[in-house]
Each structure stands twice: as C-alpha cells, then as structure tokens.
Amino acid sequence: MHLRPQGWSKIRSEQNRYLRHQKSFRSLIFLFFLIFSGLTAGCYKEPPKEPYRIQELKRLIIDAERFSEKDPERALALYKEALKKSRLLQDDKSSLIILLSLSRLLTSNLEIPQERIEEARDLVNSAKALLSRSIDEIPLELLEELRLEEARLILLSGKLPDGGELTSVRGVRVVEDLLKEIINSPSENIRIRALNLLGRLYIKKGLFDLAEKSLIESIKINNGNLKMEEANSHRLLGEVYMSKISVTIGGVSNSYGTVQGKNFTNFNFQQAEYHFQKALLIDRELGLPYKIGMDMEALARLYREAGDKRLAKEYYLRALEIWRLQESRERARSIEKALEELQE
C-alpha cells in the first residue's frame, strides 16, 4: 500500500492556495494593464503635425545658423535657398527671420565692404516692405529684431537710410528713437544688444557718461547668456574710460604713474585696463581671433596713451601677428605705423 507522508494534505492545500493567489495576482496585473492601455489610447490626442514643407524650411534655417560661424559662404547659400522656399510657402515670419539673418551674416566680417552694407540695407528694406503688407501675426520679438538691425546698420555705415549723416543731431535722434523703443524689450537678448548699440552711439557723439551708464546696464543684465555681447560691452566700456583719460589730461599723452594730483585719471586708466583685459579674456574663451586682435590693439593704445611704451609695443606686436594671420593688411599697416611712432 502506498503511504503518504504525514501532513501531506496540509502541504497540498498550501500549494493550491499559493497557486490560486499567483493566478489572481497575474489576472490583476493583466486587468490593470488593459485598463491603463485603454485609458491611454482613449485619452491621448496626437498634436497636429506641421506640414513637411514647413518642417523642411525650419530645418534649413537651423542648419544655416549652425554654419554661420564656421562656414559663412555655405550659410549664405542655405539662407538664400530657405528664402526661396519661404516665399513659395508665403511664410512671412520665416522670410523676415531669413532676411534679418542674411543682413547680419553679410555684415559680420572683420572688414566689411560698402557694397555689403548696402546689400544688407536692401535686405532690411525688403523685410520692412514685407512686414507692411503681411497679414500673418508677426511676433513682437521679430519686430524688435528688425528695429535693432536697422539701428545697427546705421551705426555700421555712419549713414541714415535717407542718406543723412549719423553724426548730425537728426541722425543721433533717429538711432536713439529706434533703440529706445527696444531697450525695455521683454527679451533679454534684445535689451543687451540695444544697450550696447546705444553705448556705441554715445561714444561716437562723445557722451561718455551716458555711454558708461548704458554699457554698465548691459553688463548687469547679461548673465553670461550672450558672451560675445558681454565682451563687446567690456571693450566699449574700456574705450569710454580711455577716452576719459584723454579728456582729463587735455589730450596730452602722459604716464599714468606720474600724473600729479589726478587720481581720477589713474582710476580711469585702471578701469579701462580692467575692461579691456576682461574683453580679451572672454574673446579668448570664445576663440574669436579678430576680436582678440581688437582687444590687443585697444590695450596697446591704452598703454601708449598712459606712456608705458614697453607694454604698448608688446601688445601692438601681438595684434600685428593676429592681423597678419587674418590677412588684414590695412590694420597691420596701421599697427606698423604706430610701432614706428613708438620707436621715435
């Protein structure tokens, strides 16, 4: 007779109970999964997709932006292609973006020929014309960008769109009006650039205190988001303080250590040196050779102004090396001339 061990029935019943639990647990998980999938499928609504052509256009603009620093010629070709597409699609917003970008790309070199500035001005005029007849809703930021570009081109060429001179009272007022409209822009990027342009305008007009105020404000807003603009602010501030040295000592070159009773001059020198060095540091971080050259040249001018011929020569020589590498003959020639003057 086959004998079962003691407690066999208890083990069997435990086993059965365990299997039953396992089965019900599995069913529960399955049910939960079923309800979850049902709810997900039922509640999910796919967002409307952009048409392929619009996506293609956007990708073209993004690609062009990527190439703008390393390969400007390619970026130019891509922007032109994008412009054609945007006109075919009647996409006014994209067209405005492209026209502004093209204008900036054409005027971003170290030495900008007059024809390029004129070409950029034509592009901005086209953008304005497009804006006037557009029925699309154009974002405020884009309108402000357009004003900023207009002001930038005036400062770059020194001429108003109607041919008037920037240095005239009217010229300054036109640019000031354009920029003052956007220095309170909700966009931080636009505010920073507008303040920098305003600083440049005031330096041109010899209004150093106003320039100082604008540029300090620009540095204050900039939290390192726009590094290039931060360097620009510092360089311009350096110029402001350097100009103040000349004003204080009556335009006569003098050693900063020996100017008697003129602590103000010494302060200006130190400020100018600090800001130029800061700009140099940022430009080195960004790896922009022509900006580094400008900073070196500015420092050389500062030391020369202050009478430190050794440092002036050192920075002139470094700048000269950069301009030679950049094949900027005009700038190299002007430095060679300055070096000759230093020798005398």
Binding site: Y44, E46, K58, I61, I62, E65, S68, S94, L96, I97, L100, S101, R104, L105, T107, S108, L110, E111, I112, L142, E145, E149, R152, L155, L156, N189, R193, N196, L197, R200, L226, M228, E229, N232, R235, L236, Y290, K291, M294
Partner: protein, 316 residues
C-alpha cells in the same frame, strides 16, 4: 415487401454515385499519371557516376543540367572507403548523348547566389556508357571567391607595408643611394678644388719656364701625369655617379609604380566607404528622428526654435 423508389431523382441512385466516384477516381489517377510523366518518372534513365572529394553542397535529387536544361538528377551518394564520395547520376536515356568520356560534371550555382546544380560540360570523345565514370570539378562559390580575394588583398597590404618599410629603412637602397649621391657630390666639390690647385700650379710652372726649360719640362710632365690621374679619377667618379643615379632612378620608378598601384586600389575603395558611411549616418539620423517623434519622448525633447542670427553689435 420491397419498397420501390418512385421519386425520379432517386432512380438508379447507386449507379449514379458509383459513376460519380469512378469519374473522380479516374480523374485523380489521370492527374497523378500526368504529374509523374511530367516529372519524368516513366522516362527510361541510365546511371553514370563521378567521384568527388566531398559531398558538400550536393543532395539527392539535385538537378543535372546541360546548357540550363534539366537532363537528370542525383540518384544517390555513397561514402567510399577512402573517404571520398561516389555520386550516382540518373540521366534520361535520350539525353545520354551529351555525356562523353571527356565530359565534365561541375558543381555550380545558377547565378551568384542561386540554386546549386550539376552542370554537364559536353565533350567531344566517345559516348559515355551506362555505369561509367564522369570527370568532376567543383566551381568556386561566392564564399570561396571571397576567401581568395581576402587572401590576395592580405598579400597586397603586406607588400605595401614592406614597400613603405623598404622606403623608410635607413639601410634600404633609396636611403643608401641618396647618401651615396651626397658623398659623390662632396667628392666632386673636393675634386674641383684640387683641379683648381693643379691648374694654379701649372700656371706657376709656366711662369717659371724662363728659369729652367728642362726643369719645366720635367715638372710639366709630372703635372700632366698628375692631371691625367686626376682626370681618370674624375672619369671614374662620374661613371660611378652615373651608375648610382641610374640605380636611384630605377628604384624611384619602381617605387612610384608600386605606390601608384597601391593608391589606385585604395582610392577606388575610399569613395565607396565614404558613401556607405554617409548612408549609415543618414539611417541613424532617420532612426533618431523617428525615436524623437515617439509620443512619450517627444514631449521631453526641446524643439529648436527658428530665430534670426544673433549678429554682432561691435562691427569694427
């Protein structure tokens, strides 16, 4: 009591059923017969065989073809005592005419990656009799060809390496030839200065001619001897230089040819490789774009905004 079927439809029902089944059976038989005939089951066949080193790639029932037409199949394969394989072919009798004593059976593929078949290459000798042996060859398949190509490429790469090593080796002919050339040019320079000295000596001797003619004659002879010797040396050096230069030129031509061949072979592959890499990258990008577009991920990926170029407010 016998019940008679009065309904017209059921009169001779059994007969009708038998007739129907009979017709269906006959039809099936006819169909089977036709299929068998089509397959050549009723065709009289003869057997021939060939001996192969291995049976890889062959199987029973494999078609045997002449110029693409099936004439038979492999009937059976037997492993012999010497580890070789006897493959018996069953050939349709009317097609035996294609099999001659110098005919070849080739194991090949229809196309590069097509079905394997036994292809018969008809010969010109006497007709093969049943149960006689046929010659056999195995044609190279794609894998074998790839293996051979790999072996050849390995040799080529090895040769290129050797060539580069040979060019760079300090003890190599090229480096030696260049060193020799340098020495020869140095020798020539020294020789020129010596010849100049000799000419100056001669000049002096001529000036002293008035003093002692006899002496001068002797000295002149000596000088002439000296000059002759120098000229002989010079001529020897020039011929040496010429030989060295010839050798160098030959080496350079040889090296250039080798390099040209090597670069020619490699340069053909580079655009292909680039094309493939580009395609692969495109595929990867497409896959990434698709993954990015999936619902749960899409919301987490920040879309790139289209905006105008930042530009620079500090244009010089």
């Amino acid at each position: 009591m016998e019940i008679k079927e009065t309904e017209a439809r059921f009169v001779f029902l059994r007969g009708k059923v038998f007739l129907f089944i009979g017709v269906a059976f006959l039809g099936t038989l006819l169909l089977l017969f036709l299929i068998a005939k089509q397959r050549g089951l009723f065709m009289k066949t003869e057997e021939v065989y060939f001996i192969a080193e291995r049976a890889t790639g062959m199987y029973t029932g494999m078609p045997v073809k002449v110029s693409g037409f099936k004439i038979g199949r492999i009937k059976e394969m037997k492993l012999l005592d010497d580890a070789r394989v006897k493959v018996v072919l069953s050939i349709e009798s009317p097609q035996m005419k294609w099999l001659r004593e110098d005919s070849y059976a080739l194991l090949t593929k229809e196309g590069l990656i097509g079905e394997s078949v036994i292809e018969i290459i008809p010969g010109k000798g006497r007709n093969l009799r049943p149960h006689e042996a046929l010659n056999f060859e195995k044609l190279k398949g794609f894998e074998e060809m790839a293996q051979e190509l790999k072996a050849e490429l390995t040799v080529i790469i090895h040769e290129i390496k050797e060539l580069l090593h040979y060019i760079n080796s300090p003890q190599g002919d090229i480096k030696k030839s260049l060193a020799n050339l340098e020495k020869v040019s140095e020798g020539l320079i020294a020789l020129t200065s010596e010849a100049k000295v000799t000419i100056e000596d001669t000049d002096k001797l001529i000036k002293e001619l008035d003093g002692s003619v006899a002496n001068v004659t002797v000295k002149a002879e000596v000088t002439l001897d000296e000059t002759r010797k120098r000229l002989e040396e010079l001529s020897g050096l020039i011929s040496d230089t010429r030989n060295s230069l010839n050798k160098i030129t030959e080496n350079i031509i040889h090296t250039t040819q080798n390099l040209k061949e090597a670069t020619g072979k490699t340069s053909k592959d580079i655009p292909l490789l680039l094309q493939k890499t580009e395609r692969s990258l495109q595929d990867v990008e497409e896959i990434l774009q698709s993954i990015k577009g999936l619902w749960p991920l899409r919301s987490g990926i920040k879309k790139e905004a289209v905006r105008p170029l930042s530009g620079d407010t500090y244009a010089p």
